[in-house]
């Protein structure tokens, strides 16, 4: 079983939900990324998602766009990002790492070479935002042959037929985009997300994560009550941005922010269990 599969199996056994924080690699400068990853794990992250900077992040809102720009000002490349994962793995051989980015840097490296290098570095899953399953056969094969999980997005606009197709290509987990929009957009509607998750679960037994629009402990807790994983990106990247002037302090801020989310999620899940046990 992959690290991601093991992680979810373990969480399920413990009756907990996965917290998946996102930061952009190299933001605000390359040397802080690995310490940030360790700090996030220490604060309760189950899986870490590392953004690969791209010049044209079409699916991202202004917060993550600026993170990409800060990283690219330091010329952080896909190879550099893999180097950061390799460094992270020296001290952490357990926490799954998912790369999230756009297709073109992967195309430039070549699917085979990328999959091999990602596996060697210790990457576990790859989410390519602008690669729908229709175009994904080549990359999915390359990833699978290296035991890497291809992670795909499911959107509010996805038809049932598309959800089936996406889940047939995915492994590790699937990522439900909670709203129509870009990352960091408006607040999410938990009731409609819950209805969609029920639909998705009829199609797949893969864990379902929810992201886009989770901004604080309260929204993380509400999503944790219905999803298998909570993905938090822009809210954390804002913290990174605010600390860009004093990068050595960012880890402390992130730890605090994530710690609150972790506690709220665990309480929410525990409450839900108590609620069920009381027979309501």
């Amino acid at each position: 079983m992959s690290r991601i599969g093991q992680c979810f199996a373990q969480l399920r056994a413990q009756g907990r939900k996965a917290l998946i924080p996102y930061v952009t690699a190299g933001d605000p400068q390359p040397d802080v990324t690995v310490p940030l990853l360790h700090a996030m794990v220490a604060a309760g992250a189950d899986i870490v998602e590392l953004g690969v900077p791209f010049s044209d992040p079409m699916a991202d809102g202004p917060v993550i766009q600026r993170a990409s720009e800060r990283a690219l000002a330091h010329h952080v490349s896909l190879r550099d990002v893999l180097g950061m994962v390799r460094e992270f793995r020296r001290r952490d051989d357990v926490t799954p790492v998912v790369l999230m980015g756009y297709l073109n840097p992967v195309e430039m490296m070549g699917y085979e070479e990328f999959a091999q290098a990602a596996q060697a570095a210790g990457v576990d899953g790859v989410l390519t935002v602008d690669l729908p399953p229709e175009e994904a056969a080549g990359l999915v094969d390359a990833l699978r042959s290296r035991q890497l999980d291809p992670i795909f997005l499911i959107a509010p606009t996805s038809t049932l037929e598309r959800i089936e197709r996406i889940c047939a290509n995915a492994s590790g987990f699937v990522y439900y985009v909670s709203l129509k929009g870009v990352t960091g957009a408006a607040t999410l509607d938990v009731a409609s997300v819950a209805a969609r998750l029920a639909q998705i679960r009829e199609v797949t037994s893969l864990p379902v994560g929810v992201g886009f629009g989770i901004r604080d402990a309260e929204s993380a807790a509400r999503v944790a009550a219905i999803a298998d994983a909570v993905v938090v990106g822009s809210a954390l990247v804002k913290t990174v941005e605010a600390g860009a002037g004093r990068p050595q302090e960012i880890a402390g801020h992130l730890r605090l922010q994530l710690g609150e989310m972790r506690a709220a999620m665990d309480n929410a899940v525990a409450d839900a269990v108590t609620h069920r046990l009381r027979g309501n």
Partner: protein, 411 residues
């Protein structure tokens, strides 16, 4: 056939319909977008498939092109300029005479009519030089649709007159301050708007790029250029041309001219990219001549990119050619050998701008001036009985400030 070696390969289109069902032109094109956009793109494809064969829709489009745009545009024999060049006879397809002054409106009319039939009440567009933005704001005004145009902050500064035109037409112009603050970033921002407002919004892309079905749909709306030119040259000169020449940024005016001639094996096609300060300088906008295949803005095509796969900034005196990608059908026409792609520098384009103005009394757009400049190289190599058609895709009024500034003249 002439002093010029024919570079025509077997027409790739004979007997096959491109793009294929999933939007591919060989390895290019396709649909590379985030999942949220897959459903609206499919909705658009289905609507377009339905209306492209709908007699009432086509009649309405045809009426608008005649009565509102002023089509057909003339095919004009530039006899004095041809004589100066001392070779082939040069004919100009006068898209500069269209309403709003360029070919762009052929496409915006078509997409806006489609938007209305799909029940969309809000139109968005990206623009570089402002020509597509003006053409979109124009049709939105006429149909009474809300219109939002995304434009790079750098371009807004360079093209103040077009910004004011769009505002006069009732459009909201949104400055884009991310990335390089130019056309590619405006396109990113328009996509972000679309993904957020897909229920009521129609995104009118201005060129033959973007995810399927845009490259095919925009081509089909622009193909009126080539259909008219083919009919006109047969009537006016009694035979097909020997070559077609058009500038290529995203490539919509070029595809529009080329497409109806693709199966005419004897017609050699030349797409002219912007070489900026020269291909060897790296300061250019010529992905077909000097770029590599990659994925950007929803399709696989030739791109200007660095070794890490990051998109790099482009340079051209012509804002309309200042784009790091190119329509995927051009990528396929290049690889298949059906079309030839060349590049013209800023200086060469400026020279052609002045030549045509002084010799024929026509001020061409700087974009079109790239095509004209290539003709000054091509025509003298061909015999006098050869025919070259150039797409004069736009008029140059919008560029007089750029030309004056470049030449140190204050207006």
């Amino acid at each position: 056939m002439s002093k010029q070696t024919s570079q025509t390969a077997a027409a790739p289109y004979a007997g096959q319909l491109l793009p294929d069902a999933s939007g591919h032109f060989g390895p290019y094109g396709g649909r590379f977008v985030a999942e949220t956009l897959m459903a609206p793109l499919e909705e658009l494809r289905l609507a377009y498939e339905r209306f492209r064969g709908d007699a009432a829709f086509l009649q309405e489009l045809d009426d608008d092109l005649r009565q509102y745009v002023g089509r057909p545009s003339p095919l004009y024999h530039a006899a004095r300029w041809s004589a100066r060049l001392g070779g082939a006879q040069v004919w100009l397809k006068r898209e500069d005479l269209n309403h709003t002054g360029a070919h762009k409106i052929n496409n915006t009319i078509g997409q806006a009519l489609l938007a209305r039939r799909m029940g969309k009440t809000r139109i968005i567009a990206e623009t570089g030089a402002g020509q597509h933005g003006v053409a979109t704001a124009t049709v939105a005004a006429r149909l009474g649709l809300e219109c939002v145009v995304y434009m790079g902050a750098v371009d807004i500064e360079r093209q103040a007159a077009n910004v004011f035109r769009m505002k006069l037409l009732g459009a909201t112009v949104v400055p884009v301050t991310s990335g390089s603050k130019t056309l590619k970033d405006a396109l990113n921002e328009a996509m972000r708007d679309w993904v957020t407002n897909i229920d009521n919004t129609f995104y009118i892309i201005g060129t033959v790029a973007g995810p399927h079905p845009y490259p095919a749909m925009v081509r089909d709306f622009q193909a009126i250029i080539g259909r008219e030119a083919r009919e006109q040259i047969l009537r006016q000169a009694g035979r097909l041309p020997d070559a077609l020449v058009a500038c290529v940024g995203g490539g919509s005016n070029a595809i529009g001219l080329f497409y109806p001639f693709l199966n005419d094996d004897g017609v050699v096609l030349y797409g002219v990219e912007a070489a900026g300060a020269g291909l060897e300088s790296g300061q250019h906008a010529a992905p077909l001549c000097a770029g590599r295949p990659g994925v950007l803005h929803g399709n696989r095509t030739y791109l200007m990119e660095d070794d890490d796969g990051q998109i790099i900034e482009t340079h051209s005196i012509s804002a309309g050619l200042d784009y790091p990608g190119v329509g995927p059908e051009h990528a396929w026409l290049k690889d298949s050998g059906r079309a030839n792609y060349v590049a013209i520098t800023d200086d060469e384009a400026l020279q052609a701008f002045h030549d045509l103005t002084r010799i024929e009394g026509i001020i061409p757009a700087l974009e079109s001036s790239h095509a004209l400049a290539y003709v000054t190289k091509l025509a003298p190599r061909l015999d006098r009985d050869k025919i070259v058609i150039v797409n004069l895709s736009g008029r140059g009024d919008k560029d007089i400030h750029t030309v004056a500034t470049r030449e140190g003249i204050r207006l």
